[in-house]
Symmetry: C3
Subunit: 344 residues, 3 copies
């Protein structure tokens, strides 16, 4: 009997099944420093404990994506080790800031299954929930992945496709307890642009580019204990390239978006996300954003912007997402739809 | 008079000599994060402060190898700066968990000397002891290295070869104070296999591979303040390659062994170790283990497995250590014999 | 209206202007670990909390250059994003040790402006001051950079060239409160050489070399939130090379200088600095030092050495700074003049 984990195949999932993922993980100040070293982030709140205190928080949170990557990484050995592709995200909410000393666990419920017509693969839908050491929900999200069947001849399950919301409604956004932007320090934050300065439909070219390298993305992906072989092992793919973890691209694009969105300090929710194209070392990544919506929140001085964050291979000053035929334009790597909190 | 350290040569060592190594070093949460970033470790105990608390520890230890690499690194400038080869390890014991805030110092006693028949090199045996800020022994170990003579004409010392034990007896293993595996959380740890599930002679192919890169191993080796030139300087060797620190291979193999040995949470001792072949960037490293022995410990719920951990260049599903003529098989990089603590 | 920062051009600066830089940054133990991982430093004081305590400090400082790089990085988006070259440093003093938990802000005053005769660029002189969370000065320094004009036709300002001191006088050096080297542990520090063992004019070849890589310097530079495009983006320069941040070379050379200057534990001031040549990946960097001056300080057991630290591409055992015609010798990358504190 083998003792090693070969991961789950499509047949191993049933709707309603709950998987408790392994490897609880304590966040440390080392994570903050490594994140800073890996991504060109300059958001004042995760950078400065003083800034965090001044906006009413009683801890110094790490970036929301630190928590997301850690929580997500735990699901990989059970959900996506045999995945063909990570198809999408929805309904991701950040319920409370995470700070050094917090320990995360993740569990996932299978909420949908649909075999593909080729009979060789199927789509698995899960809702994952990361909780802290007090059992409080920290992050939850849905994602769906295409997974290999172990045996093409095994029968297809009854298809169940969950009804996921296209966007997290603004009234469901969680603003961290205590957050108050009324005395917000725009000089420390780096830009004067506030909620009222952004218009729906506006696009922002974030200007800067970063050339990707293999050692950096494997350091990042390993930090999150994400074990997918394609990221680490040049023998895992015919072309010998290490496929870059999609979350590395998300974090890089989010950090690049500082230039133009410096006051979008916190991510409150991820509405949708698609890894449109693969990323590899030596490519130079750029980002642009589009303002999709705006909303008030009940918190003092805090507004919410719904943003589309697009990462591209090479700079696209035209900021064009799709070709005339509706397909993603060549060079688009990421299309991420999220809510950020910003001073009004 | 030069002020720089040229390292010791074979003639500089005498049996009984004690060397106090420089550079005390405080362990931090940054070391934990970097270790996680450098090696694909998913052992629950060093990953989660909650898990450590639940198994009875009053600190959140870093991996034992963090302590070992730091303690070992201090010996390099005095013992092995002019080493031709690191020949072996024995009698390494971990006397107490190390956690952020602990400061390590190392001293070494020369316990053996034997000139080689070529008259140009000799073997130096040392017993090294790392102590914490309270002067308590944290780790001790023996190693022997082949060192250049300064002058081939200098006379050979009387040969002294210490009588080192082939294996640390199970009754000499130190179980950390308070460790109690009776309420061990197998779900959090990631695998159900316990002490009773492993049989002597059993081999486990750890399946996963990691492709090595130069920036990663130099970041690791420098973190441990190991100064051996061959790791950092492409001009230090005729072939222009940076030789990868053997400890990097140990840590990589230990982390890979999670897949099949997830519950072997702590290393209690290293009985023997040989760096069989050199490792360089761009090679993909795999690991397999063999169960060599099993033993009870006095601690509640805690058993000990004696394991052989083998790292290979490329995967060897046959898990063959030696050829028919008794030589290590081509591609074997590391043969490490250690005791791990595991729930019964 | 664009929301992104295009940086300031020569016309945007006026003498007397004060710029409050963005992105306050809290130092953490993660910074200490990453610094250790990036540079081969073995100085006992930043390495060991016990050593710091034993020499009278009530915190465990990070290396002075950690503070310098962080403080400097904040000035880049406002001062040198459009810089042609970083021309020099002067009058840099370290006013107090910085430790995890300290938060730095930086502001700069424009103290000089001089258009170049080509009409396309000009030199901007700034005095920058980094303060901690209590508003106390932590580091201040002057630097001058050559910056592009936005429009070659805009009129030249009246030239103002500040009168900067060639060297910080010894009596102006700040010794950290409490520092006492009378019971200094030379064994822990790694070398016996004290103040009295160094002579003015003495040169020390630091022997060791480190081969540079791209991932390492971008991890470093990003950690300091330095945003200059040329360090990160292979598309930012015609040759496709990532130019290595000059501060990376300073830190590498300072760490290499341990071998021969192990007791030069703290940097008290930087008198002058020139990045003589560009550094790129795959080059191997070495360092040598020259003792320029010596001075007493009022602190118990603490002397000051004024040192020239020279980084070279490839080893220069002749330790020659300039050719016969007075130009920097080919291969010189850095010429740094600083004051270090050392036990008498």
């Amino acid at each position: 009997m083998t003792k090693t984990n070969a991961g789950n195949f499509f047949e191993d999932f049933t709707v309603g099944q709950v998987i408790e993922h392994a490897t609880p993980r304590t966040i440390t100040e080392g994570d903050r420093a490594l994140y800073q070293s890996l991504y060109p982030s300059r958001f004042a709140l995760p950078s400065s404990a003083e800034f965090a205190r001044q906006v009413g928080l009683d801890v110094h949170p790490v970036e929301e994506l630190v928590g997301f990557h850690i929580a997500f990484g735990k699901t990989v050995p059970d959900v996506s080790l045999n995945a063909v592709a990570n198809l999408g995200y929805a309904e991701c909410r950040f319920h409370r800031p995470l700070a050094p000393g917090d320990t995360l666990r993740t569990s996932s419920e299978v909420i949908g299954l649909k075999e593909n017509s080729n009979g060789k693969t199927g789509v698995v839908y899960v809702r994952s929930t990361a909780t802290n050491q007090r059992g409080e929900v920290a992050i939850d999200w849905c994602r769906w992945v295409m997974v290999h069947k172990r045996d093409a001849d095994s029968p297809a399950p009854d298809p169940v496709v969950p009804d996921l919301r296209i966007v997290v409604p603004a009234e469901d956004l969680v603003v961290p307890a205590g957050l108050d932007f009324t005395d917000y320090d725009f000089v420390a934050a780096g830009e004067p642009h506030r909620f009222g300065d952004y218009e729906v439909g506006e696009r922002i070219d974030h200007v800067d580019g970063v050339t990707l390298t293999d050692p950096e993305h494997v350091l990042a992906t390993r930090l999150w204990q994400n074990t997918a072989k394609v990221h680490f092992n040049t023998q895992a793919r015919p072309d010998g390239n290490r496929l870059i973890y999609g979350g590395h691209v998300i974090s890089m694009a989010r950090a690049l978006s500082f230039n133009g969105l410096a006051n979008a300090q916190l991510i409150a929710a991820i509405n949708a996300g698609a890894h449109v194209g693969p990323a590899y070392a030596d490519r130079t990544i750029y980002a642009w954003s589009e303002v999709l919506d705006k909303a008030e929140t009940g918190a003092p001085g805090v507004g919410a912007l719904r943003l589309r964050l697009v990462a591209t291979r090479g700079r696209d000053e035209s900021m064009t997402l799709r070709d005339e035929d509706g397909k993603y334009r060549d060079g688009v790597l990421l299309d991420l739809d999220y809510w950020a909190l910003i001073p009004v």
